[in-house]
C-alpha cells in the first residue's frame, strides 16, 4: 500500500504524449502522499514538490522551443520520473561519506556517537570500529561512556570481545572524564582511532546535552555522528536541529534500514542541518555498516 504513491504518479502519464500543467499537478498530488507516508518532513515535501513542478514546467517550455511543439522522444512519465529522482538526489546532497582522520601526534582520531535512546549507537560503535579497522587499517579503541543504562558497558564489552577490539570502561565514572582518560590511554597504547559510545538522550534534556558539550570540550572529537533510527517520523527535524545547534555535528548514521521503514527522515535531517548521511545500518551484526549512497536511497523514499 505504501508503494502506491509513486506508481500512481507515473500512471498519470500513461498514454499521454506530452507533459502538461494539469498532468504534472495530478502527479505531484500522488507524490505528495507517497512522501508523507515515507515520513519526509512537511516543509521539505513542499519545497521538493515546488522544485519538481518548476523543473517539469521548464521541461514543457524547453520541448516547445526545441521541437516546435512536437512530442517528446522520451515518454512524459519517464521525463517526470527522472526529474523526481534528480531533485531527490540533489536534496540528499553529494556523496560525503568520509571520516576525518588525523595522523601521528595530532591523533588519535576521535569519533563520537550521539543520539536518542535506542537509535543504535552502541551497536553502530562496534560496527564502526570494525569498519575503520578493515577499510582504513586503523587500530581502534572503543569507549563505554554510557554510565546510565543498565548493562550498557557490558553490551559494548561483549561487542568488543567479539571483534577483538579493546573497550575502555570505568563503571560509575563521569563521562567527560572517561572520554579524556580513554584518549590518554589510546595514546599510550598506540590506538589511532577512539570511538566514544554515549548514552541515549533527549535533545531537549539540557543537563545531558550539557554533558555532551563537556565531552566535546574535553576531547575535541574530529567526527561527531548523530545516530538516527530509519523509522523516525516528523520529529526528526527537531532532534537533528537541536543536536546540531548544541554540538556541531559532522554527519549522520541512519540505522535499521534492513526493515521496511522508508527513511524519509534522511531527507529532512540533511535539509535542516546541511550535514551529510555518512553511513547506514543494515542489521544487527557487526558487518552490516555501509557507506551511504544517495542514488539507491531516492528510490526507497519515493516508494
Amino acid at each position: 500500500a505504501v508503494r502506491k504513491g509513486f506508481k500512481n504518479a507515473v500512471h498519470v502519464f500513461e498514454g499521454k504524449r506530452e507533459l502538461t500543467e494539469e498532468n504534472i499537478e495530478e502527479a505531484l498530488k500522488a507524490i505528495r502522499l507517497s512522501l508523507f507516508e515515507a515520513d519526509v518532513n512537511f516543509q521539505v515535501v513542499k519545497r521538493f514538490l515546488a522544485a519538481v513542478k518548476e523543473k517539469a514546467l521548464g521541461e514543457i517550455v524547453q520541448i516547445r522551443i526545441k521541437d516546435g511543439g512536437k512530442t517528446l522522444r522520451a515518454s512524459p512519465g519517464d521525463v517526470f520520473i527522472k526529474i523526481c529522482h534528480d531533485e531527490l538526489e540533489a536534496l540528499m546532497g553529494p556523496v560525503d561519506t568520509g571520516l576525518t582522520f588525523v595522523q601521528g601526534r595530532l591523533g588519535p582520531t576521535v569519533i563520537m556517537m550521539v543520539g536518542l535512546q535506542g537509535a543504535g549507537k552502541t551497536t553502530t560503535a562496534g560496527k564502526l570500529a570494525r569498519f575503520v579497522e578493515r577499510h582504513h587499517q586503523k587500530k581502534p579503541l572503543l569507549v563505554a561512556a554510557d554510565v546510565y543504562r543498565p548493562a550498557a558497558i557490558e553490551q559494548l564489552q561483549v561487542l568488543g570481545k567479539r571483534l577483538n577490539i579493546p573497550v575502555y570502561a570505568e563503571p560509575g565514572g563521569n563521562p567527560p572524564d572517561i572520554a579524556e582518560r580513554a584518549v590518554a590511554q589510546a595514546k599510550a597504547d598506540g590506538n589511532d582511532v577512539v570511538i566514544i559510545d554515549t548514552a541515549g538522550r533527549l535533545a531537549v534534556d539540557d543537563l545531558l546535552m550539557s554533558e555532551l558539550e563537556e565531552i566535546v570540550a574535553r576531547v575535541k572529537p574530529h567526527n561527531i555522528l548523530l545516530v538516527v533510527d530509519a523509522m523516525i517520523g516528523q520529529d526528526a527535524v527537531n532532534t537533528a536541529k537541536e543536536f546540531n545547534d548544541r554540538i556541531e555535528l559532522d554527519g549522520f548514521i541512519m540505522t535499521k534500514l534492513d526493515g521496511d521503514a522508508r527513511g524519509g527522515a534522511a531527507l529532512s535531517i540533511k535539509e535542516v542541518t546541511k550535514k551529510p548521511i555518512k553511513f547506514i545500518g543494515l542489521g544487527e551484526g557487526m558487518e552490516t555498516l555501509q557507506e551511504f549512497q544517495p542514488a539507491g536511497f531516492a528510490d526507497r523514499i519515493l516508494g
Binding site: 515520513d39 512537511f42 533527549l202 544487527e284
Partner: protein, 275 residues
C-alpha cells in the same frame, strides 16, 4: 476562515501541516478532515471550532478501543514484543515494579537470548525492582527459555510473569516465526498464556508504526500497546493510524528512563498534547 460550506485549500493545508507533523499520517488525517468537513457542510461548525472538532474525532478514534490493563486473580503472563530499541526491556522493569507495588508477585523471563548485554540489562532491572528473573544459557533457544521460565514461575509462586523478547523488525520472516513459536510455547507451558501480548512502540516512530502493529499482530495477536519516549518532543500521532487497523488499547505511556516513568494512558490528555 469564515462559515463556508467546505474548508478551502489554504485552511486544509494549515490543518494538514499540524496533523502530519504530529505523525498522524495520511489516512488518519483524511478521516479527521472528513469528519470536520461533514460538520462544516452541515453548518454545525465555524472557523474557531476546527480544532475542537478535530480533537473530538481523534478522541473518538482512541476511545473506541480504550480500556485499562486489568489483571485477573490468577497467574497472568504478559508477552512483550516490538522492534529493536523501542523500550521493551525498560518497560518490563517499570511494569514489574508497578505490579509489585500493587501486591502482585512479578517475575521476569529473559527471552532475549540474542543481543549483547540483553540478559544483563534485565538482570539489573530485576535487582532494582526486587523480583526473580529466569534466564537461560547464552544463545539458548528463546522459546525453550520462555518455556522453562514459565514452568519455574508457577513453582516459585509468581503470579505476574513478564516475558522479554529480542527486538525484531517485522519484515524478518524467521524472527517473526520465532515469535509465533514463543507465543505458542507460552500456551504449552501455562494454558491460556500469554494472557496479554503487548507491543511496545517508540513515540518517535513515523508511519512504519502501522506496519509494525499489523505484522506483529499476525504472529502474536496483540492485546495492547505501550507508547514509550513521550517525554521527548515526538507526539506519537501514529497511534491514530494503528487504532483502526489493530483495534487494541494503549495501556501505558513511557515518560522517561526511570522505574517510575510509566503512566496509564489517558485519551483526552494524549489528544490535548497531540495537536
Amino acid at each position: 476562515f469564515s462559515a463556508k460550506p467546505k474548508l478551502d485549500a489554504a485552511a486544509i493545508d494549515q490543518v494538514e501541516e499540524v496533523l502530519f507533523t504530529s505523525d498522524i499520517g495520511v489516512k488518519a488525517s483524511e478521516r479527521l478532515l472528513g469528519a470536520l468537513n461533514r460538520r462544516v457542510a452541515a453548518g454545525e461548525a465555524t472557523a474557531d471550532e476546527v480544532w475542537p472538532i478535530l480533537r473530538e474525532e481523534a478522541r473518538s478514534i482512541l476511545a473506541a478501543h480504550h480500556r485499562p490493563l486489568v489483571v485477573g486473580e490468577g497467574v497472568t503472563v504478559i508477552l512483550v514484543v516490538g522492534v529493536n530499541g523501542a523500550g521493551k526491556t525498560t518497560t518490563i522493569g517499570k511494569l514489574a515494579a508497578r505490579f509489585k507495588a500493587a501486591g502482585r508477585r512479578p517475575m521476569v523471563i529473559a527471552g532475549d537470548t540474542f543481543r549483547a548485554g540483553a540478559v544483563g540489562q534485565l538482570e539489573e532491572w530485576a535487582k532494582r525492582v526486587g523480583c526473580p528473573i529466569h534466564q537461560g544459557a547464552e544463545g539458548a533457544d528463546p522459546a525453550s527459555v520462555v518455556f522453562s521460565g514459565l514452568k519455574a514461575a508457577t513453582e516459585a509462586g509468581a503470579d505476574l510473569i513478564l516475558v522479554d523478547t529480542a527486538g525484531r523488525l517485522q519484515t524478518k520472516a524467521p524472527l517473526m516465526d520465532e515469535l509465533r513459536k514463543i507465543a505458542k510455547v507460552c500456551d504449552r507451558a501455562i494454558a491460556g498464556a500469554p494472557h496479554e501480548t503487548v507491543l511496545v512502540l517508540d513515540a518517535n516512530t513515523g508511519q512504519n508504526a502501522i506496519q509494525q502493529a499489523k505484522l506483529f499482530s499476525e504472529v502474536a495477536p496483540l492485546t495492547g500497546l505501550v507508547l514509550t519516549k513521550l517525554d521527548g518532543t515526538a507526539k506519537g500521532g501514529a497511534v491514530l493510524g494503528i487504532a483502526d487497523e489493530v483495534k487494541v488499547p494503549i495501556y501505558f505511556i513511557g515518560i522517561g528512563e526511570a522505574v517510575e516513568d510509566l503512566r496509564a494512558f489517558e485519551v483526552s490528555e494524549f489528544v490535548e498534547a497531540l495537536f
